[in-house]
Amino acid sequence: MRKKNRISYAQKQLPFSGTARALVSPFKYEYRAFAALGSVLGIVAVAYGVCVGVSIAHVAARAALVEDTRALSAAAAALEHTYLAETRGITESYAISLGFGAPERRVYLKEGSALASAHAR
């Protein structure tokens, strides 16, 4: 048995004359189309709201992190300044002043030889 198309009351009232042709022909999925469109819009609205909320939280968290990072990088820069200045003070003359000196006698061993292995530390 052929299923009968269900149409709305308003559509029933339309004079489906031939003059308007396709533009005024009945659209049997009108209800479903509007329902689907409405559902999609609802989902998009909720998703947008969620995204905006997440974005706010993300930006707020990042603001705090950026601030922390800047403070830490400034502290690191100060430490690096001190480190580089101290490093320049480590010179041969400083080492000599501490009692270091060049070895008086050197013995050279071939890398990987038995003698070198025996003296390896």
Binding site: P15, T19, S55, R70, H81, Y83, R106, L109
Partner: protein
């Protein structure tokens, strides 16, 4: 009638759908395609204080073990200022300010505070977090502290010419003015503040960039090959040299001849990029890349390598040295004008004989000599990643005469940058392969992504055999000739050569009789070189020859690098088990 009404409703509905589609398309264009431009415009209007906060990638030195130390970074602090019309008790404001800032000028401070209608008078900038926080905590009416961020250079003068500095130049934006700051300005620049105030814009910002690409880079950190301890050592050596010999300009380069990575590059006089307002303008340019010099006899090994490569001589070849020789109507003489008789090729380098070089160039011919000068990169810029590289002055090589190629063969008559000469000499240490000298190794982007900086692959200047024979001859120079062999290091093969060049007189033409440029280069371990060291000094006073002024600094540098990098000896007498 009713049909007409329905028809119109449908038409209106279709128009509405088209309008919506149009608006969506426009939103797509505005927010995604052109989002970056609109965001910049909007932020400039509404969040100016945030957008103008300096944000820029860090430049790093690379230590021996691969750890990174900032060469240029950002520092946070405060600007301290008065709002005179809000000051109620200037004595109290002065008391609080002077407790925290001892060097404050009291009279100037009170004069500024007395300008009753003035909305802003700056006391000072770049104060520490502690000082700024204390001023804010004191809450003295009219005494304010504003957050500030500035570029700082933790090494002060360390590699100042190479790192460069930020400045306004001729514009209103802080940009790199010299050195790596300028060469990598586009990569280091972060186009927007790290913190977005408009989170809607933030939502779409990265979508557009990632989908469609953007001309604005995200702002990267630059990792360089400069090793801070080697750099500091070299700078100390240059300081000692300048004090002892009172040279107008001194410079040095330490590079890895196999990769072209510059481990240290320094010159004096120099400046402190943290105190750029007190720097002499004439010392800001980097002489290692922005000046050209005639380097003299350190070019002789290049000529020797070319002659060996061209096959016109072999190491055991001899020639008759007459002390001077006429070429194209001009006399070319040895430095002491003394004849040596029949001598082997080794003596050309060991005794630095100009007549020997003339012999080699004449045997090669001008065209071949020119080809080799080009092969060693002396007729072009090196492409080093530092700004303002000078072009070599090699117009003499257009001459049809042999004379110009003879003088070029011993380093006179053509002028090149120190980095170009160091690169050419590095080819001898690298089996004849010419590398691209560079300081930048890697760009590190936010989020952890890294990109290696690509450099031109090595190209052959001479065959490996020619480079090896030349190296052997240069080792002999160090072991027997340089300071009569006193520069020899028994356990390490070192190849080196000095250069003493006359300095051109730009006013009267010709050369000064009493002004010299001293240069020195060497590499070690000679047959598997890890380091090439290059020194030069303009007009040192008190010694005529480069061997008198540079031998000791060179030896100390070799000793330092050997110890610091734990370079094993390559020719030491081996102790065997009894």
């Amino acid at each position: 009638m009713r049909a007409k009404f329905i028809f119109r409703i449908r038409i209106i509905a279709i128009l509405l759908v088209l309008c919506t589609a149009g608006m969506l398309a426009k939103l797509y264009l505005v927010q995604i395609v052109h989002g970056g431009e609109y965001r910049e415009q909007a932020e400039n209007q509404h969040i100016t204080p945030s957008a103008h906060v300096l944000d820029r990638g860090t430049i790093y030195f690379s230590e021996r073990d691969g750890s990174l130390i900032s060469a240029a970074t950002l520092t946070n602090g405060y600007t301290v200022a008065l709002v005179p019309r809000a000051v109620k008790d200037s004595a109290l404001a002065l008391s609080v300010a002077s407790d925290l800032i001892p060097d404050i000028d009291r009279e100037t401070f009170l004069a500024k505070a007395a300008k009753a209608d003035d909305p802003y008078e700056e006391i000072g900038r770049q104060y520490s977090e502690d000082i700024g926080s204390a001023i804010l905590a004191a809450a003295v009416p009219g005494l304010e502290a504003y957050r500030e961020r500035w570029r700082s250079y933790p090494g002060d003068e360390l590699a100042a010419h190479e790192v460069g500095f930020l400045g306004f130049g001729n514009g209103t934006e802080l940009t790199g003015q010299y050195g790596l700051e300028r060469a990598y300005d586009a990569q280091l620049t972060k186009p927007t503040s790290g913190l977005k105030i408009n989170f809607f814009a933030d939502l779409f910002t990265n979508v557009g960039g990632s989908l469609f690409g953007s001309d604005d880079g995200p702002g990267a950190d630059l990792i360089t090959s400069i090793e801070p301890s080697v750099q500091a050592f070299i700078e100390d050596e240059l300081l000692l040299y300048q004090r002892e010999w009172n040279a107008k300009t001194v410079g040095a380069i330490v590079l890895d001849p196999k990769t072209g990575e510059v481990l240290a590059m320094a010159s004096r006089p120099t400046f402190n990029p943290n105190d750029i307002k007190n720097a002499r303008p004439d010392v800001l340019a980097n002489p290692m890349v922005e000046r050209v010099y005639e380097f003299g006899s350190i070019a002789k090994p290049l000529t020797m390598a070319a002659a060996l490569d061209a096959g016109v001589v072999v190491q055991s070849s001899t020639y008759t040295d007459t002390g001077s020789v006429q070429i194209d109507g001009k006399t070319i003489s040895n430095f002491d004008k003394r004849a040596r008789g029949v001598v082997p090729m080794q003596e050309i380098l060991s005794q630095s004989l100009n007549v020997g070089i003339a012999h080699l160039v004449q045997k090669m011919g001008a065209d071949t000599a020119k080809e080799y000068l080009s092969a060693f990169g002396l007729t072009e810029e090196t492409g080093v990643d530092l700004p303002g590289e000078a072009s070599p002055l090699v117009s003499n090589l257009e001459s049809p005469r042999t004379l110009e190629f003879v003088t070029a063969g011993f380093g006179q008559g053509i002028a090149v940058t120190p980095i170009a000469m160091a690169r050419a000499l590095a080819a001898l240490a690298n089996g004849g392969q010419l590398v691209a000298p560079h300081l930048g190794i890697e760009l590190k982007y936010p989020g952890g992504a890294t990109r290696s900086i690509g450099w031109a692959p090595p190209r052959a200047a001479v065959q490996p055999a020619a480079a090896e024979v030349t190296t052997r001859m240069l080792v002999e120079v160090v072991d027997t000739a340089l300071k009569n062999g006193k520069a020899k290091v028994p356990e390490m093969s070192i190849a080196a050569k000095t250069g003493t060049a006359q300095i051109a007189d730009p006013v009267h033409g010709g050369y000064y009789a009493d002004r010299y440029l001293h240069s020195f280069f060497g590499y070690f371990p000679a047959y598997d070189a890890r380091f090439l060291i290059f020194f030069f000094a303009v007009e040192p006073v008190g010694a005529q020859y480069a061997s008198d002024t540079w031998t000791l600094p060179f030896k100390r540098t070799v000793s330092f690098l050997t110890t610091y990098y734990q370079v094993p000896p390559d020719r030491a007498p081996i102790t065997t088990a009894p």
